[in-house]
């Protein structure tokens, strides 16, 4: 197991280098604003532009630029400085990290707490109104894009512009350490919005798995043992139905981060997603690279964790 994890971690590092290279190439190959131009302002003289280029190191060859970036990162854990604000990318990321972690972890909690009961109940009560209602709700959740759903949620429930002003609206985020209650209420809408798609998809997947599992021989055995129906469903059934979904959920952490970019933007939450969005607007290459690498790190770590968790959840994988 240790050797397996080590192999996965090494492969993850290789992947990170590839991601950084890809980000670099994409930034320079695809049309984007000129960072020097953006800094210099309107009608800057060519001399000023050249000076800015030289100070940012943009006058050097592309391989040299990438090599500098990589050596700084590997040798000094240094992601460079933002073209736009001049602040160190590392400190910008660390400042923004708590907001993103608050948002995504909370969304995962909502995702699991809502998807599991819906999936199980709609499988057990297949064909009844409960099933039909959740199927309809899931369809809505799957079809609605996050940014649209976010705006609708604000329009309906935000205390500044909402028709039913129940919850704090956009821009009300405060750090957990400042005011836990405000932190919590400000994040309720973002959590629900970000979790909606995943909840809907996973409720459906779990329902399908559950229906299949409930017809398995071992579920019949559980009934034949005289276990209560609740135990048959929630222990024997759910245990088997949820296991394959864990792997899938690990892969979807990447999608969740993508959703976080949109959610943070719509709700004005100062997180990594919002930072990335601003960095792209400002052609702020070091910051783009930093946010992308951090997101890639998340996804890679999530996948490794999920694989380990899977081996724990399914003993058949462990011996294989």
């Amino acid at each position: 197991m240790a050797a397996y994890v080590l192999r996965r971690v090494l492969w993850g590092l290789v992947l990170l280098v590839l991601v950084s290279l890809l980000t670099f190439v994409v930034f320079y190959v695809l049309p984007s604003a000129d960072p020097a131009q953006l800094r210099a302002g309107r009608d800057a003289s060519p001399a000023t532009l050249a000076q800015i280029r030289a100070s940012l190191g943009l006058d050097r060859s592309l391989p040299a630029q990438y090599w500098t970036f990589l050596t700084h990162l590997v040798l000094h854990a240094d992601l460079g400085y933002s073209y736009y604000s001049g602040a160190s990318v590392g400190s910008l990321l660390i400042d923004r990290l708590p907001a993103t972690i608050s948002l995504t972890l909370g969304a995962i909690v909502v995702w699991v707490l809502v998807a599991v009961p819906i999936g199980v109940v709609s499988a057990v009560r297949r064909g009844t109104w409960v099933d039909k209602l959740t199927t309809g709700g899931a369809l809505l959740g799957i079809s609605a894009p996050v940014y649209w759903l976010g705006l609708v949620a604000l329009y309906l429930f935000a205390d500044d512009i909402g028709k039913l002003p129940l919850l704090p609206g956009a821009g009300s985020y405060v750090p957990l350490t400042t005011d836990p209650w405000k932190w919590f209420t400000a994040l309720i809408l973002p959590w629900l919005v970000l979790a909606s798609t995943f909840t809907a998809v996973y409720a459906r997947l779990l329902r399908a798995n559950m229906i299949e599992v409930l017809s398995e021989d071992y579920v019949r055995t559980a009934r034949a043992k005289g276990l209560s129906e609740r135990r048959v469903v929630w222990r024997h059934g759910l245990r088997a139905a949820v296991t394959p979904l864990v792997t899938l959920a690990g892969l979807d952490v990447g999608l969740l981060l993508g959703g976080a970019v949109l959610t943070e933007t719509v709700f004005g939450i100062p997180g990594i997603g919002r930072l990335n969005y601003d960095a792209i607007l400002h052609a702020d290459y070091p910051l783009i690279q930093g946010t992308v690498l951090l997101a890639a790190c998340f996804v890679i770590v999530a996948n490794i964790v999920v694989d380990i968790a899977y081996a724990y959840l399914d003993p058949r994988v462990r011996t294989a």
Binding site: D217, Y218, A222, A224, K225, G226, H236, R239, P315, R316
Partner: protein, 380 residues
């Protein structure tokens, strides 16, 4: 009925009918069967796939209950009718008073739970025992079913055990609450011949030690011969023959039983006697054949058999032996005497043909292949 049906029967099934409402129509899987088992005895239920034997067993355990299932008759466990019992009462009896061992232990055990935990759970569903006590008892049960190194195996997952070992775990789990009735559904079908013999020996030993009544469902007459005291032969949801095991093998009285016996290899068969498969397939249970349900596949069929339904009746010389066949006892006696000596079904048939000449329409049916199509789509 059989000798087991002294007043002491612990499980008594009376006129059990089970039908499933399906898209294709009503499937009458079990159509009026009755049997009884006494403590310490084994009833073998024999038949091909689709004869209704498993459905009957599952219904006894209350496992077929659903809005699409229609059940009639009575299933009396110690005098209590399980078909009339509430869901909660049924749950309390399941796994406690009556337990079941399933065929394929790999799919019948939960793949993600340790075998010890699965046994403990069976106990804790019915008794108020602590974790440590349950675990100690689970270990005891694993030792009872002769699992070597039980202390280590108790923490194994099902896929880490061999097929025979898994079946022993299934049996240990079924015994967790010392049931009065043990139903074993094809308990050895998935196993090697040597392991099969071990498991049957184990079941016999446990039945005797614990004084359980056992119902053994199988398609294998060899298993029945080794283990059962009484036998019920099922065909298309009905009982066609019922007898003490010795008598069933010595003097079978139903053409379907003859078919089963002649299609299985026996050491005591006369030299040169070929194995004779039963032609055709079991009939559709949505539109079962009219008259005798076996008639499309029966080598001895006569015109009358296509319209008249035989009744399960005791033989004149042995009330424990009952058969549902329209041939006369003399004819059956003659036919089996010939078959037992290695004659083909055609020869046996010729010997019992009515004096008036060959039966008008039965000629084709003696050809093994003729039953094939007819069996599937029999006239409704």
């Amino acid at each position: 009925m059989s000798a087991a049906d002294a007043a002491g029967a612990v499980l008594r099934v009376e006129d059990l009918q089970v039908a499933f409402d399906t898209r294709d129509g009503l499937v009458q899987a079990v159509d009026g069967i009755s049997f009884a088992v006494a403590p310490g005895r084994t009833l073998g239920i024999v038949g091909e796939s689709g004869s209704g034997k498993t459905v009957a067993a599952m219904t006894v355990m209350g496992l077929t209950r659903s809005p699409r299932t229609r059940v009639a008759g009575r299933v009396l466990l110690d005098g209590e009718d399980l078909l009339a019992a509430s869901a909660e009462r049924l749950r309390a009896l399941r796994g406690a008073a009556a337990a079941m061992v399933f065929q394929d232990s790999l799919s019948a055990l939960h793949p993600l739970l340790r075998v010890g935990a699965q046994i403990e759970e069976a106990m804790r569903a019915h008794r108020d025992v602590g974790r440590t006590a349950a675990r100690a008892r689970a270990l005891e049960l694993l030792e009872l079913v002769a699992i070597p190194d039980a202390a280590r195996r108790i923490d194994a997952y099902p896929h880490e055990l061999s097929g025979g070992m898994r079946q022993r775990v299934m049996i240990a789990m079924a015994l967790a609450n010392e049931p009065r009735v043990l139903i074993a559904d094809e308990p050895t079908t998935a196993l090697d011949a040597t392991v099969q013999a071990q498991i049957l020996a184990l079941l016999r030993r446990l039945r005797d030690e614990l004084g359980m009544a056992m119902v053994l469902i199988t398609h294998d007459l060899g298993v029945v011969a080794e283990t059962a005291d009484d036998v019920v032969v099922m065909y298309a949801g009905r009982i066609v023959e019922q007898a003490p095991v010795g008598e069933l093998f010595a003097a079978p009285r139903h053409p379907y039983t003859w078919g089963l016996l002649r299609s299985m290899p026996r050491l005591d068969a006369p030299a040169g006697a070929d194995l004779v498969p039963i032609p055709g397939r079991p009939p559709s249970l949505v539109h079962p054949p009219s008259g005798c349900r076996f008639h499309p596949r029966c080598p001895y069929v006569r015109e009358r058999h296509r319209h008249v339904e035989p009744v399960l009746e005791p033989l004149a010389d042995g009330p424990a032996h009952r058969v549902a066949c329209l041939l006369s006892e003399a004819e059956r006696r003659t036919a089996w005497a010939l078959l037992a000596e290695g004659a083909t079904p055609e020869q046996a048939r010729a010997a019992i043909e009515p004096a008036g000449g060959p039966a008008p329409t039965a000629a084709g049916s003696t050809e093994p292949a003729a039953g094939d199509g007819a069996a599937e789509e029999a006239p409704a």
